[in-house]
């Protein structure tokens, strides 16, 4: 079973994944605009400079966030 995973050691905290995630955008439209999501209902957010998965069950494994992550810190496996 493929799942969304995060390697915090690689994460730069840039937030590309948060902004690019289409599910995040649907839940919290301001995140697609580049601002931080206003709710913890989203799949992932940057917290204290590192990405953290909040609701991995909402991920449809569309593969968008790994495309935008500069360090392969977020991936499907």
């Amino acid at each position: 079973m493929v799942e969304l995973k995060v390697d915090q050691d690689k994460c730069l905290g840039c937030g590309n994944c948060v902004v690019s995630c289409p599910v995040n955008g649907a839940i919290s439209p301001e995140s697609a605009g580049g601002h931080g999501p206003k709710t913890e209902e989203v799949i992932m957010m940057v917290e204290n400079g590192l990405v953290k998965l909040f609701n991995v069950d909402k991920c449809t494994q569309c593969g968008t966030c790994p495309l935008f992550c500069p360090t392969d810190a977020i991936y499907l496996e």
Binding site: V2, S20, Q61, C62, G63, T64, P66
Partner: protein, 353 residues
């Protein structure tokens, strides 16, 4: 009871059952599969499961696009009958059910008529599956023009300008180092009339007007050309395994030489409000139906993703790939050869949405 045997070679899966009376075999080709999930939908015993298609296509996850549970599979062949791209093949006693009368198969085809084709290669370039090869044989350039050319070797100073300028490489000089016995830079100059296209570049560039040349085609037209020699010959080839009958070739062909028949009719609906422009559908679509519209500076576009429905085969892969349910693929007609089996007929009909 004879049990099913599953063989997995790389990502290609085969499920077999050989009883004394009959041998049945279902084989799946992963590289042909487009991940539409129609097989999963039609399987009467839920033996097929669609894999993580987005993860496979976009992030290189090494998994098979579908999985077949051989303990559930009854080897009925329905999945093979409805696969829009023929990624699933089903044989009974080594004969494909697509050749067995009574088993329904989708009516779909793509053809290029060699009679009408002008070998422009537009279809070859446009085909999203690289399924088309156009081989063409062009006539010799010199066969498309006639004329006369003569070099006055007495006047010629062997400067080599015409040889350098000739676009058809038709002029050659016999260069050599001058000696006291033969104090010239070239012993001879020749024009290969098989190569000469009578463009008159040599005549115009000769510094001493040593070349007399005339293009007869420019002066008198094409009357003395042999039409057979000027013909562009060729042939077209469609790789049926790769072809998904999307219709790009038919749409782009300037002379209506390509004809495509599609198995499904339907409607492709995109909810632009819901779309987050993640691009998953663009990458999954086997037919290049979808694209991002060109950005216009300072203008907020009404569309996040653009669909050109004439290329759509209504396989539904994009709908399944969309993470925010912004795409709906409706199938309103399923064209297939007739079957007497009511249950098969009902199953074929169930593909309509």
């Amino acid at each position: 009871m004879v049990a099913n045997v599953k063989e997995v070679k790389a990502k290609e899966v085969t499920v077999k059952r050989a009883s004394p009376e009959e041998k049945r075999e279902l084989s799946f080709k992963d590289e042909i599969c487009v991940g539409c999930g129609i097989c999963e939908k039609i399987c009467p015993v839920q033996a097929i499961e669609l894999g993580p298609i987005n993860a496979i296509e976009r992030t290189g996850v090494e998994e098979s696009k579908i999985s077949i549970d051989e303990t559930k599979c009854v080897l009925c062949g329905m999945c093979s009958s409805v696969c829009p791209v023929d990624a699933l093949e089903f044989d009974i006693d080594e004969k494909s059910i697509k050749e067995i009368e009574g088993y329904p198969k989708l009516i779909k085809s793509a053809e290029i008529s060699d009679e009408d084709c002008i070998y422009c290669k537009a279809c070859e370039t446009a085909c999203p599956r690289d399924a088309i090869t156009i081989a063409r044989v062009l006539p010799d350039r010199s066969k498309l023009v006639t004329g006369e050319i003569e070099i006055d070797k007495e006047t010629c100073v062997s400067c080599g300008i015409c040889e350098e300028m000739c676009p058809a490489d038709a002029i050659t000089m016999e260069h050599h180092e001058p000696t006291s016995a033969e104090p010239t830079v070239s012993t001879d100059i020749n024009v290969d009339k098989e190569k000469c296209v009578y463009c008159l570049i040599c005549k115009k560039s000769c510094p001493v007007d040593a070349i007399k040349a005339v293009c007869r085609s420019c002066s008198y037209g094409e009357y003395d050309l042999n039409p057979e020699d000027t013909e562009i010959k060729g042939s077209s080839f469609i790789d049926e395994e790769a072809c998904v009958d999307c219709g790009w070739c038919q749409e782009i062909c300037p002379v209506d030489a390509a004809h495509v028949e599609k198995a499904f009719e339907g409607e492709l609906l995109i909810d632009q409000e819901k779309c987050e422009a993640c691009g998953a559908c663009l990458e999954i679509c086997p037919c290049n139906v979808l694209s991002f519209p060109k950005e216009e500076f300072g203008k907020q576009g009404a569309e996040n993703v653009r669909a050109e429905e004439k290329y759509c085969i209504y396989c539904g892969a994009c709908e399944k790939a969309c993470p925010v349910e912004a795409i709906e693929v409706k199938r309103t007609a399923v064209k297939h050869t007739p079957t007497k089996s009511k249950s098969w007929e009902k199953k074929m009909e169930s593909l309509k949405t």
